[in-house]
């Protein structure tokens, strides 16, 4: 019961902050609300007993990605607020389409009910996650490290100021 209350609290916080991310005119405020959303989502992960993922969420998202966003906003100097011109009708349609998709899926889920879980429970604690990650998913895990290396090199090459002249 108390878990459900904590879940509801973090869920409401996450949704409210997510709405504020999209609505804010100042990009720096958006980033701070994004940090709030990420922390609230990690709270949701904790209530769902995914402690490892909650910790990773705080470390990688709140500690890494959000700080990266703050640096980029400072570098490109997003302080001045540029008004975004878009007529009302297209804006309403653009909001209505994602909302309709979400409502449809939620309706189907609640009307039909979620199918019962098949047997063969494997557990979802630290040990089970580690055994699956380094057992069945070892190859994707190693591929992910190669992806991160490629991203490191690619981001430096794309973002550097000008081409380095090769003496040859």
């Amino acid at each position: 019961m108390i878990t459900l209350a904590v879940f509801a609290l973090f869920a409401a916080l996450a949704v409210a902050a997510a709405v504020l991310v999209v609505v804010q005119k100042n990009a720096m405020h958006s980033v701070l609300y994004l940090a709030l959303t990420v922390l609230a989502t990690s709270g949701v992960f904790f209530t769902l007993q995914a402690e490892y993922l909650g910790a990773i969420q705080i470390l990688v998202y709140a500690g890494g990605i959000v700080v990266l966003y703050v640096f980029v906003i400072v570098i490109v100097n997003l302080k001045e607020i540029v008004p975004e011109r878009r007529p009302l009708l297209p804006k309403l349609v653009l909001v209505a389409v994602p909302v309709a998709v979400g409502v449809e899926v939620a309706y189907l889920l609640i009307a039909r009910g979620f199918p019962a879980a098949p047997g063969r429970a494997e557990g979802h604690g630290f040990t089970a996650v580690a055994e699956t990650l380094f057992g069945s998913y070892l190859f994707p895990f190693e591929l992910a490290s190669i992806l991160l290396l490629a991203v490191l090199v690619g981001a430096i090459i794309v973002a550097r100021r000008k081409l380095v002249h090769d003496p040859d």
Binding site: A27, V76, A144
Partner: protein, 100 residues
């Protein structure tokens, strides 16, 4: 025990809000932030299903989604910086070089 419907509806809400942000906003940096929201919604659903099915695969998949989100943020920001240096703007309306 948290009902699975509540978790999926929360994930859907975050996904829909992120979707609206990507489609409606014209600021490149805010669009990238909305993309993070979208991936977060997917993560919530993955973790909820892992809990419901009592399987570690939900957490493992969500971990890979987070790795992908980090890569996307880094490369996306490199592109935004390169674009900003060229155009002195971060509005998607200025991205019309290939318009015939």
């Amino acid at each position: 025990m948290i009902p699975i419907e509540a978790v999926i509806v929360l994930g859907l809400l975050l996904f829909a809000i992120g979707f609206v942000g990507v489609v409606v906003r014209k600021n490149l940096v805010v669009m990238l932030m909305s993309l993070e929201l979208l991936l977060n919604g997917a993560n919530v659903i993955l973790v909820g299903l892992g809990r419901r099915l009592d399987s570690p695969r939900g957490s493992v998949f969500a971990l890979f989604v987070i790795i992908m989100a980090v890569s996307e943020a880094a490369v996306g920001f490199a592109l935004v910086l390169a674009y900003f240096r060229q155009k002195k703007s971060y509005d998607v309306d200025a991205l019309d070089d290939l318009k015939g």
